[in-house]
Symmetry: C2
Subunit: 336 residues, 2 copies
DNA sequence: CCTGGTGTTGTTAACGTTAACAACACCATA
DNA sequence: TATGGTGTTGTTAACGTTAACAACACCAGG
């Protein structure tokens, strides 16, 4: 509750001198500095970041806007971002768009009023371009994470989903699978497009015909994994392996299969993307390519700060982080 | 970049009139209101929350300070808090103390400068009392989540860990286990104390002698689950069941056991606390009591807002949310 | 003794917003 | 026609901080 003026009065100096002590700017006699510090401590003084931001036009606030905090990929990413931001004296606001364009818009509006210094965003989909253009118009630097958005250039940190998809398919095919279902994700999301593309390319490369009755759309949520299995069960042929759009769809699918009495992985191999938190360490069901989520966050902040401070390259930078192949059935790990 | 003054000029009114339109306070002629709104849109005007906060002494910012964002319990809790905060027009800042008192202190300092309206905190332990007293001294309302702190009174949302522990023990004992190990958590954390207490009481109630060689300390982290198993293996007797301090310790223990060739759950039953995200849906290894994490967050925000607005009771309120017993081995769910 | 630099401190105004009050027009009523 | 209420708008000052500049003391060098 004490202000810089209270401190100044107590230390018998002007507020400006106190400000200099706080910020380490200008020169202050050692004796005066001591008096000021003493006064600050006695009054339990904390500078007001908002007032400071008002005059400095800089809030030291970043925002990380994600599509789903409860997804382990994003929580780990968030940790990376948080650590890196704090290390550089920035605070980090979290937002959750829930894969929903409208919620994303609400957050962007809020950010414009909060006057954040920069934004890390995992876009909800291609239509997010509106929001990105809005940020750009207001001169708020941003870094795109995980999903690229056609039509906008910016700094971005992406995974290689095409390669990831191919790795999983090669693995399945190598294991002898020829009838592989693909539960693909929403096509307005770049990761889902690339993963589907990888599926088709791998089939082609291995001379396996594309069978549209094995290919089913999902929405990246657990429930759509259930539905996909129901649909699949009514079709012919029934596959021996599944490439799932993402981790949640994979879980949903496995759960539905188990309910129907299938043994996993004996009667059905399941491969998918992104890790699933601590439990996956000991899970024998899944083969997956994971992404270095922590690095997504920490490098994202790094790129963003470079842009904010004008350090680093003037060009837009795209960093592609390599997928890591993990077969939980054999505990085999390989980097690419 | 446009300010309220730019809008005022464009709409040919005073800034105050614009302010009235924005906030819906006072009276403004319909025709004027239209002109103002038009001007705001043309200029892409967004009010500056910081400037507003400065004069209103209210930031509409809350903070949720947790011990570990990557723990599914807290991410779900975070979702509950976020949804509830947004519903009431509040923004939510997230913080991660990493079970570390110093990091917690840094966050509290930061919050005092950020002038948040209120704080939700899952304390790192009993020593957090310093930080809570600091908040209180600065008149920042707070709600304690998950772990109580002896010596401080406040609004709080807690689980019933004593009951939870008993439920798990009853279950194990009912299944015929007599030699049950306890991997207990840090004793400066209330949840760990209560869980250990439940262990001892259940033994007593069932006439099973307490054997200190079956009781091992952990630090709530995955690795300490490993170490605990190593220690256990060198001791006599070897248990047939384990009560693990929390979800991560349980995973660590299971992993270590599997490496040693143990079949889970045939050769060892494992019971623990809190859910583990989507994967646990299909995990056959664990028996656990989970807590309604989403409600922790959403009710916490509710309590906090009541306190901030002065609505609700003057008395400190403690809400104890009941544990839910889940046996993933049988998919049995029971509420208590 | 003057000059000019250096070190130290203070003054003023501004950042964008809103609270409190003032002012004025308009209308109905006595 | 005077009175007073109501509806609408504007003016001033304040929130807590810092940038830009001003001011002054002190000392070395000519």
């Amino acid at each position: 509750m004490a202000t810089i003026i209270d401190v100044a009065r107590k230390a018998q100096v002007s507020p400006m001198t106190v400000s200099r002590v706080i910020n380490g700017t200008g020169t202050v006699k050692e004796e005066t500095r001591k008096r000021v510090i003493e006064a600050m401590e006695e009054l339990h003084y904390y500078p007001d970041y908002n007032a400071r931001g008002l005059v400095k036009k800089k809030t030291n606030l970043l925002c990380l806007l994600m599509t789903d905090i409860t997804n382990p990929f994003f929580t780990t990413l968030a940790r990376g971002a948080e650590d890196q931001a704090n290390r550089h004296g920035y605070r980090l606001l979290f937002g959750n768009s829930d894969e929903c364009l409208d919620k994303e818009k609400d957050y962007v509006d809020m950010l414009l009023s909060t006057k954040v210094d920069g934004v890390l965003i995992a876009p909800s989909g291609d239509d997010s371009i509106k929001h990105l253009q809005m940020l750009r118009k207001h001169n708020i630097p941003f870094v795109i994470l995980d999903r690229y958005v056609p039509g906008i250039r910016s700094d971005q940190i992406l995974g290689d989903n095409l390669l990831g998809s191919r790795l999983l398919m090669e693995h399945l095919i190598q294991q002898g699978h020829r009838s592989i279902a693909c539960l693909f994700g929403p096509q307005h999301i770049s990761t889902a497009r690339d993963r589907l593309k990888g599926y088709r390319e791998s089939l082609l490369l291995n001379g396996i015909p594309y069978d549209s009755s094995l290919v089913i759309e999902t929405d990246y949520r657990l429930e759509s994994g259930h539905f996909a299995i129901e649909t699949l069960l009514n079709r012919d042929p029934f596959p021996s392996a599944i490439l799932a759009a993402n981790n949640l769809v994979a879980i949903g699918a496995i759960q539905a299969l188990q309910r129907r009495g299938f043994n996993i992985p004996e009667q059905m191999s399941v491969a998918t993307f992104d890790d699933l938190g601590p439990l996956s360490i000991l899970h024998p069901f899944l083969t997956l390519v994971s992404q270095p989520a922590y690095d997504f966050g920490s490098m994202g902040v790094q790129l963003l700060l470079d842009r904010i401070h004008g350090t680093g390259s003037k060009e837009w930078r795209t960093i592609v982080l390599p997928p890591q192949f993990i077969d939980h059935q054999t505990s085999e790990k390989r980097g690419y």
